[in-house]
């Protein structure tokens, strides 16, 4: 279904060709190659390796239905189907990834309550299908950037649980040397640009990443994630406008978990609970973010679209079980019933589990075996993090400028420090 606006051609005409677009034309062959590229390499996991995926030829697969996409400014005949084929090994992979994320976030909750994690800690449990679905539609050639709710993105972009939990607990073994904490996780090797504390700031950065892809002809699409609260930041509108003007290959992803901290979308958004039309003059799409297959199919379409036509605004309808952060109980602005209702009816992990079990592709014991291995991985990571040392004192002075510099301040001996 599209929005009420008449279907417009999917490729708006550019006005004056921007120099970058000329380069982009030259790299069209590269883009075409990336469109035909293999699906995302699954993140390596001992459990998955142990399972030994059966070959594609003889493993069971089925077409699964999901909530249809809502679109805006997308040709009616280009909107992807509300169903997709998934194989047993794919579903097991999604289950395992999401379960790892779920257990890691719950471990972070316990670490926070035990005061091993201090400061601000924003958990992603409930939203796992979003990042797992996205990663299954893109590759590590596609740069990813998101907000402070970034633990699971750091995991999906290749960091180990030990590195993530070490960073959260402020240890030197953390992904960013313990200097960034929960909100500032990065993995440049796999083109993950954080982990950004200021709401909405990652929007224009996403446009810049997309421009780099286009300029360098590296063929990637930038995926810039932000929340329903951030959608109200002026800089998001600025990023959308620049991306549209220069036809940058970027997907703006609004993770609509319906609450910006303590304020519901109904009380903070002029457009109510729909964000996919917020791009106004760029196409938009609304995806059921609690269904990993819906997210995967939606982003396969969005990636192809962005590489060919420029920015697209994808809203994923999702939900967070925890409050905004560990400082927020999460029940002063929503009821416990609402949270448990969603857990019962839309939990992303349970959905994939049901697909596997109901189709008798796995026995419950096999899934329990995976769960046991994940819990082992989490326990080891927690133990590792608790035992790791904090960053040494001299790291307070590193990474301010590129070169060594004098950081003035007051020591006990009143000197400056180099």
């Amino acid at each position: 279904r599209s929005a009420s606006a008449p279907p417009t051609p999917a490729s708006p005409q550019p006005s004056t060709p921007h120099p970058a677009m000329l380069r982009a034309t030259l790299s069209a062959s590269l883009r075409a190659r990336s469109l035909r590229a293999a699906p995302a390499a699954p993140a390596v996991l001992a459990a998955s390796r142990a399972r030994g995926f059966s070959s594609a030829a003889d493993e069971p697969s089925k077409t699964f239905e999901f909530t249809p996409f809502l679109t805006s400014r997308v040709d009616v005949d280009k909107v992807p189907e509300s169903s997709a084929v998934a194989t047993k090994s794919e579903l097991i992979h999604y289950f395992t990834q999401m379960f790892r994320m779920r257990r890691m976030e719950i471990a972070a909750d316990l670490l926070y309550k035990g005061q091993f994690i201090r400061g601000f800690c924003h958990l992603y449990d409930g939203q796992e299908a979003v990042i797992v679905g996205i990663e299954s539609a893109i590759t590590y050639n596609d740069p990813l950037i998101t907000s402070y709710r970034a633990h699971c993105q750091q995991l999906s972009r290749g960091s180990s649980m030990k590195e993530v939990l070490s960073e959260l607990t402020g240890r030197y073994t953390g992904a960013t040397k313990g200097k960034g904490g929960s909100m500032h996780l990065y993995n440049p090797k796999n083109k993950f640009y954080g982990g950004n504390g200021i709401v909405g700031a990652q929007g224009p950065l996403g446009a810049g990443l997309a421009f780099a892809e286009q300029y360098n002809g590296t063929g990637g699409v930038a995926v810039a994630m932000f929340g329903d609260g951030a959608a109200n930041q002026g800089q998001i509108a600025e990023a959308i406008n620049m991306s549209s003007l220069w036809k940058l290959p970027v997907i703006f992803v609004c993770e609509n978990n319906h609450y910006g901290m303590g304020t519901s979308t109904a009380r903070s958004s002029g457009a109510g609970d729909d964000f996919y039309e917020r791009g106004t003059f760029i196409p938009g799409m609304k995806v059921d973010g609690m269904d990993v297959l819906a997210v995967r199919e939606g982003f396969k379409f969005a990636k192809a679209f962005a590489l060919e036509h420029g920015p697209i605004y994808v809203e994923v309808d999702t939900y967070r079980y925890h409050g905004h952060s560990m400082s927020d109980p999460g029940i002063t602005y929503r009821s416990r019933d609402e949270i448990s209702d969603i857990r019962k009816s839309r939990d992303p992990i349970d959905r994939v589990k049901a697909k596997l079990v109901d189709n008798e592709w796995v026995k419950v014991e096999e899934l329990k075996a995976i769960e046991k291995e994940v819990k082992k991985e989490v326990d080891e990571a927690v133990k590792f993090a608790k035992a790791a040392p904090p960053p040494p004192e001299h790291e307070a002075w590193t990474n301010i400028f590129k070169e060594d510099c004098t950081a003035r301040g007051t020591l006990l001996d009143n000197g400056t420090y180099k």
Partner: protein, 355 residues
């Protein structure tokens, strides 16, 4: 010999006096914390000015620190309401409302001072220049932006900043930072009524750190007036906000352990700041230290030190020093190392005494 140290005035004497004037004497002064004091000031402004409004992110349910607790139920959703997550929009919107004229108090909240930067353009280029560029025919004096600032023990890069320097550097804005509940209520009410755009920085570490007697009635303390909180003879330490308490603790250590009498001055209003009180103090003591959490380079301390050396040159026994945060982003795990602690102040003062 040296002149005797004057008897320590009760540091809340100005508050008592102001409260007594406002309430005709005998005002009740229950002991409450900073959150309650701020809440009381906002309620007082909403009561007195029917065109006063309170708005910001999550203020309707009481706010993340509860400073706007129950204001919605008392004053209604037309006057106390949430905004979307749009700092630039919040402050710009407030400027426009305040521009309607006197009595239009736009009491905006920026959830953490670290988030004030999207609104910085509105503050600098709109709010601060409104009166000047209109030749005085228009202004937005009713704008008051409240925001929690400062270190809190675990805030990291974006929940700990003290952005007073870039704010104070803007002619046309007033910037205020209280040190405790009873001065906070008086300063906040004064800032709200002051016909200039104001930024009210609330040290979040002090929100529930302690209580003091706060008059139930509304009252004001003068803006632009510093206060000597600890009288002394040997060295003047200038501070504001939570750092006043760090300086007071250092003063105690220095008096009891080393016989050095430190005079602690709380600026209270950061701009326009009370140069006269500070200069008068340093002319008496001959030594001065300025201390603040924000990084030392280009901090507010530089301004105070410049004025001290200009006004007290012939009275100085030693160079004027600063004990401040380092020139790094506010760190996460290294916070204890970064902060200008009482030990650092003690060392600095002892250094000055040996000069």
């Amino acid at each position: 010999g040296l002149p005797p140290v004057p008897p320590a005035p009760r540091f809340d004497a100005p508050v008592r006096a102001a409260a007594a004037r406002a309430a005709g004497g005998g005002a009740a002064m229950p002991r409450v914390n900073l959150v309650a004091a701020v809440n009381g000031a906002l309620a007082g402004l909403l009561e007195e000015f029917e065109h006063a409004i309170v708005f910001g992110e999550d203020v309707a349910f009481g706010g993340v620190f509860r400073c706007t607790n129950e204001l919605l139920s008392r004053f209604g959703p037309d006057r106390v309401f949430n905004t979307p997550l749009s700092e630039q929009g919040i402050v710009g919107f407030g400027i426009g409302y305040a521009a309607m004229g006197p009595g239009h108090l736009a009491l905006a909240e920026i959830q953490f001072a670290d988030y004030i930067y999207p609104a910085y353009d509105q503050l600098v280029n709109e709010a601060a220049k409104f009166r000047y560029r209109s030749g005085g025919v228009e202004s937005c004096g009713g704008l008051l932006v409240r925001t929690p600032c400062g270190a809190v023990g675990h805030g990291g890069h974006y929940h700990s900043q003290s952005p007073e320097a870039p704010l104070c550097h803007v002619p046309g804005l007033k910037v205020v930072m209280p040190r405790d509940p009873c001065t906070a209520k008086g300063l906040l009410m004064a800032a709200g009524k002051d016909d200039n755009p104001c930024v009210f920085l609330e040290p979040k570490a002090l929100y529930r750190a302690g209580v003091s007697g706060v008059p139930e009635a509304g009252y004001e303390l003068p803006l632009g007036a510093a206060q000597v909180v600890v009288p002394g003879r040997d060295v003047t330490v200038v501070a504001w906000g939570a750092q006043v308490w760090v300086a007071a603790r250092a003063a105690k250590v220095l008096r009891e352990g080393f016989g050095v009498e430190v005079e602690v001055v709380d600026l209270q209003t950061l701009v326009p700041w009370d140069e006269e009180t500070v200069v008068e103090s340093v002319r008496r003591t001959g030594r001065a230290v300025v201390t603040h959490e924000a990084p030392v380079t280009m901090g507010l301390g530089a301004e105070v030190v410049a004025a001290i050396q200009e006004g007290c040159f012939l009275s100085l026994e030693a160079p004027v020093r600063r004990v401040c945060g380092y020139d790094t982003p506010f760190p996460l795990v290294h916070e204890k190392y970064y902060l200008p602690t009482e030990e650092k102040i003690v060392e600095c003062v002892l250094d000055l005494m040996k000069f």
